[in-house]
Symmetry: C2
């Protein structure tokens, strides 16, 4: 493995033994803790040095005016940007007037460990001040999965010689967030977005309330403490402006320990008043104090034990990827676990990249994982979409369409994309949402959700597509002028991915409406409308290039000029070196688009078509997006190119641990991390779920000797253990399940695992990628 | 005629007898004076009230940062905006301490006359102050065609009772330009763009020098005066900051007259220093003083006599349109006459609309007129394009293309379009430039220009198209992903207009290069390159829809959904009510595109194809652009729909006199005015000039009894007089000319006019337009 050497893999922990200041921002993302509601970047306890200080609340944003040199009808006027809220993780240490700062003095030991079973970030420091005073600091930080508003830190200090120390525990709002970036993908710098409303400092407790300047959201952050140490320990608390501060001072002897448990609680609202928001933070804080540190730790572990029991993916034969895939699952869980009515952003709550927006990533990459491993989180994410339906309906109206047009990027539901050819025109997001709904319903059998939010989401997205397309003179149904997943094409006619996903959406909506007729009637869905959806689906255009014997990505794609890879050199990502104009009109693919259709609508293609299509698109896909490798892994595996699949799997899994796109500093690539699971489970496990039967076609790439994966399915829990020769299906938490194994029906009964042989496959030569764009070999040479 | 009633038509003058404050801004545009280098809006002498104060210098601009909420590679960073420079036309009058202000007191008489033969704006005022003092003021304003830096005003005051008067003649920089508009088509408001550099006030002369804040351009404005009046007349001059002011005071008796001739000179430079710019203004001013008012007037008339002798279009049977077409020609001349190395903007120098930018309008609509009526101005405009070649080459490089990529909109040559699908992608502008070059060369036989600027422009634009397109597997040449003239489509493959214009460009370049081999070699054009251009031209794709038997506007156009006109109501222009997304993907046309190809590349279509294509596109063309009616007039006439042609002609001619698009306040639609000439000459005259022989197919619409038009051609001057029955071709300033009359060769010899009968034509039913989008009937009902 070609891995950054400061990180060490253990089966259940990521450990860092060396502090690299130049990679601090990356490590802050990697070591970020979140429960989906509250996120803390892995900033050092003492705040500085830092790459990007970050504390985030799901759904909490500042608005800003979107500027246009040439505006147009329907352009969004306001943008939404995640902001770094009040920092409660600060714990500064003074040793005889010298501030612990790892950039000064001598760092005898540095170790940080992200413990994936305990759900905590541990830190051990042995530091000698410039004046020669030496301290040992250990801190343990958690963001609670069981108390969604709460984070907690235990911070302990020991000395080797008698010393006077001071510990300052703070809440600080409007931190300087460092330098802005010119990269449009990085969040807009918003300086001092929080306006102080009130501050409290009493006993060991502090609180700050603020309101955002533009969006007018209210928030409170509160801290309380449990302290212990030598008898001479004293404390004072104060609050002024944007700071609340508890200061402990003590004369400490060797063998003595000063220990502080800091409990944090956050609350915010767009509607309620300050007293209510304030009270909620104090209430959550009181609950956490009542629960206490040890129980918080125990609950955290219990929550994760249950998760890992369902979701763990075991990999034998590649210890680094074993850790990487668990790291990925852990962060996917962190992004969605307790979002509960808020968007799951592309970066989760680990950084400000993409302005903190949620995209189609959530439904297309993150929810497939959560649906099988943490279904309540998947349901909550879809419930959030449902809660934004009225905004999406308004947007559809504005665009002259029926149904709902969900935003390409948003925090609160409003469209925030300022570049419509890759925003508004990417209507596939609506089918992606519909697909996630259908998938969730099939996987969980959640009847309440089917009748309520699910049905309405399906109906409104189907309406959108019915009004978006048109029937030609021969009756064929076409969706013109839209942008598919590949962002190096835009405004194309009959994008195959979009059309096939819309086809499914129309059918799923008709099916769901027929099975909940009363509710469907209340939503205005008539039998004529259902018939129109079915007809549009049945007549959906799926272009095919007879000459090349492949599916064009869109109606005109394979007629376009090839991209001149020979002249491209190393000018990647292409979008930073070539105009959209040229990218759009040539055969070059940023990310899986037709190939994603081969996966998600695999039922619409023959195996031979898949092989030819995959080879064709491999040769022109440059993978300038982190949303591509996992899909390529899945289809590479299906078409028998297991070594290639393994390389793509590794790329998805290594994305942030190795900072492959050099922007992990802005936050983790949650969808790529989800993609590591997808590559393992849908790739090597061959899981497909086009209909009501789970289908597996497991096959391992050479270096792996065993892969074990877990799928929660309609209350049952299926575990599939794959070796090179056979697969073993076993059932827990359920009576009986029919699955397909390489097309053969298998019945799995509780307590009676089924072991089945894996058939051989012979694929031809592996497809080729554009020069220099093959994935890194996953195996160490 | 459904005309604004405050304007009266005379054969050679536009007269206004009533001052409508609410339409002041429109009248300022209509009464604007310009010579192509210096432009003065028709603001009242006293400055206020005003709609939009305006004094403009061709090429003089302020730069501003173009904002992007989401930026991309190759997006222009800086915009250029025309600014209102130092106002020298101010002449304020005080009558016994009361300021002449037409909004107060009583206006007994108001008359303004734009005299198209004298080239002056006359004003007669009889005003009674609130206190009952009465004055008669007459002013005559000119912007000299013969002194390109100079304007002059004669201002005279008489009283009916003894009165103390004061006249203040000023230069004022950084005037308040009034309220900004939210319409993106209106110029960005730039407040106080000029930084004072120096000021002079001595004797009767004042001067102000300024520099633009962002673009760093230096300018000087200078004034001098010749005064006469009663013996008690005294004068003082002063200068402070942004103002220089001459104040005259006198006690005037009835029968006495105070007269002031104010001479103005402007200079500016992007390169030279302040002393030089200052000296140039003073030099021009001294020349004007030496010439004197009477001679300036005489030279102005002589210049226009010569122009009208060549260019006049006489129309019998519609007095209002007689004036309108002369008004149009006058303003086209004003826009281009002395631009000499600066861009001819879409609004000329009459307002700040479109930021003062030049577009393809210039080459495609204005230059065809100037080429036949003021060929030196056409040559100068093309020389300006040539002067920007290095910027255009850099832009092509940036876009990954060869040759030159001229900007969609600019003042100084740099691309200023901030919306690339309708800017950068509109590559047809390069073919439009090439077409204007070819046309100029054919019409003038200017061999020096052919070998120098003309050849280089043709070669560099041909190179662009050769690199922009690609050959398909069968060898067909395609230009994908570009935007044609119709701005309700974008990023289309094989736009027929673009392809046919590029075809011509490639052929013209190869031809020109072969006829100037030495220069072509110096420009690197090899015989292989010429062969490649010819091959691309010969294999150029021209899509055709066999099912509908029409040319699709682009490869996919006729496959797209029809626009729902029934649901559109009166929501025009569509771009203010519907998203580009929807406009682009449906069959709705903003402005002539395929129909423009039918005109400019009429040699590529059969008459039957023209008739079918015209009928098809008429039904879906909404004419939301002022660049459409004239082209529709031309093809309507060619296909025999003369009444319809007449309606479109009238729309082009009436555009500003009747403020049809409700934005004449921002400046005149110079291309639409040019279009009035095109509609008359190419429509009713049937002039085509695809090759070296002028071809006419004259035919008059019912109300006209006679149309006479003049064409300057290779030093000769052809006049064509058309009546309902016959056409009479006569030649002046030349020995002999072969022309075609309805396809029949005619030889016209000096002194021997040829009269030829006009054949009958029978067209079918006139084509229909979208509901509510038929042109206004030109004839009074």
């Amino acid at each position: 493995m070609i891995k950054q050497e400061q990180f060490e893999s253990e089966p259940w922990a990521l450990r860092e033994r060396e502090l690299r200041i130049d990679q601090l921002a990356q490590s802050e993302s990697v070591f970020a803790l979140s429960n989906g509601n509250l996120g803390l970047r892995g900033n050092l306890d003492e705040g500085e040095p830092s790459g990007l200080p970050g504390t985030y609340l799901a759904g909490f944003y500042e608005s800003r005016r979107l500027p246009y040199a040439e505006a147009g009808y329907g352009y969004p006027e306001a943008g939404q940007t995640v902001i770094n809220v009040t920092n409660g993780k600060l714990l500064r240490l003074l040793v005889g007037d010298e501030l612990l700062d790892v950039e000064y003095g001598r760092l005898h030991k540095h170790e940080r460990t992200l413990d994936l079973r305990a759900g905590v970030l541990e830190r051990r420091v042995d530091w000698e001040s410039p004046a020669g005073k030496r301290v040992k600091v250990s801190s343990t930080r958690l963001v609670s999965f069981t108390h969604r508003a709460v984070a907690a830190i235990r911070y302990e200090v020991e000395v080797d010689r008698p010393a006077r120390i001071a510990i300052q525990s703070e809440l600080v709002a409007n931190e300087d967030s460092g330098t802005a970036s010119d990269d449009p993908r990085t969040a807009a710098a918003l300086t001092k977005p929080l306006v102080a409303q009130e501050g409290v400092a009493v006993g060991l407790r502090g609180l700050l309330s603020h309101q955002t300047r533009g969006s007018g959201l209210l928030m409170s952050a509160a801290m309380d403490h449990v302290i212990s140490g030598p008898a001479n320990l004293t404390s004072t608390i104060e609050q002024l402006g944007d700071v609340a501060r508890l200061t402990l001072t003590a004369n400490v002897q060797p063998g003595e320990r000063v220990s502080i448990v800091k409990l944090l609680a956050y609350s915010w609202s767009s509607r309620r008043g300050l007293p209510s928001v304030h009270a909620q933070a104090i209430g959550s804080l009181a609950e956490a104090m009542h629960t206490g540190w040890d129980t918080l730790l125990a609950e955290q572990r219990a929550y994760l034990d249950e998760f890992w029991d369902r979701a763990d993916v075991e990999i034998d034969g590649d210890p680094d990827r074993q850790l990487a895939v668990r790291f990925a699952l852990f962060h996917v869980l962190q992004a969605g676990a307790r979002a509960e009515g808020r968007a799951v952003a592309a970066k989760g709550l680990t950084g400000t990249g993409y302005d903190g927006h949620a995209f189609w990533d959530t439904e297309s990459f993150v929810l497939p994982v959560l649906t099988y491993t943490a279904p309540n989180a998947a349901r909550d994410a879809l419930t959030w979409r449902h809660a934004t339906l009225s905004v999406a309906r308004d947007r559809a109206r504005q665009l002259g369409l029926r149904g709902a047009a969900f935003p390409w990027r948003t925090i609160a539901g409003e469209e925030c994309s300022a570049y419509w050819p890759a925003g508004t025109a990417a209507f596939h997001i609506n089918a992606d949402i519909g697909h996630a709904v259908g998938h969730y319903l099939r996987a969980t059998g959640d009847e309440r959700f089917r009748r309520e939010e699910g049905l309405e989401l399906l109906i409104e997205t189907a309406r959108l597509f019915a009004s978006l397309g048109h029937h030609d003179a021969e009756g064929g149904f076409h969706i013109d002028g839209v942008t598919g997943p590949d962002e190096y094409s835009a405004l194309a006619d009959d994008n195959v991915y979009t059309n096939l996903m819309a086809q499914q959406n129309l059918r799923d909506a008709a099916y769901a409406a027929e099975h909940a007729p009363a509710k469907a009637r209340r939503l205005g869905a008539t039998s004529e409308e259902l018939a129109a959806w079915r007809q549009a689906a049945d007549r959906m255009a799926v272009p095919y290039d007879e000459r090349l014997q492949v599916h064009p990505q869109d109606a005109d794609f394979t007629r376009h000029a090839p991209w001149d890879f020979a002249a491209t050199g190393d000018r990647y990502p292409l979008l930073l070196h070539f105009p959209y104009f040229d990218l759009y009109r040539k055969q070059v693919v940023k990310q899986a688009d037709l190939v994603l259709a081969l996966y998600l609508r695999g039922d619409a293609f023959t195996p031979e078509e898949k092989a030819r299509d995959f080879a064709y698109y491999e040769a022109i896909t440059v993978r300038d997006s982190s949303l591509s490798a996992c899909t390529q892994a899945v289809i590479a595996a299906e078409t028998g190119h297991l070594e290639l699949a393994y390389d793509y799997f590794a790329e998805a899994a290594d994305m942030d641990l190795e900072d492959l796109e050099q922007n992990t500093r802005d936050g983790l690539h949650i969808a790529s991390l989800a993609g590591a699971w997808i590559a393992a489970v849908a790739g090597f496990g061959g899981l497909r779920d086009h209909d009501d039967t789970l289908s597996f076609s497991p096959r391992l790439p050479t270096p792996l000797t065993r892969l074990s994966l877990g799928i929660g399915y309609r209350g049952q829990l299926l575990r599939v253990e794959i070796t090179t020769k056979e697969a073993r299906y076993s059932l827990r938490h359920g009576p009986k399940l029919e699955v397909l194994h390489h097309g053969q029906p298998i019945t799995v009964t509780s307590g009676k695992p089924a072991s089945v042989a894996i058939p051989e496959i012979s694929a031809g030569d592996p497809p080729r990628q554009p020069p220099g764009r093959a994935p890194r070999p996953a195996r160490r040479k």
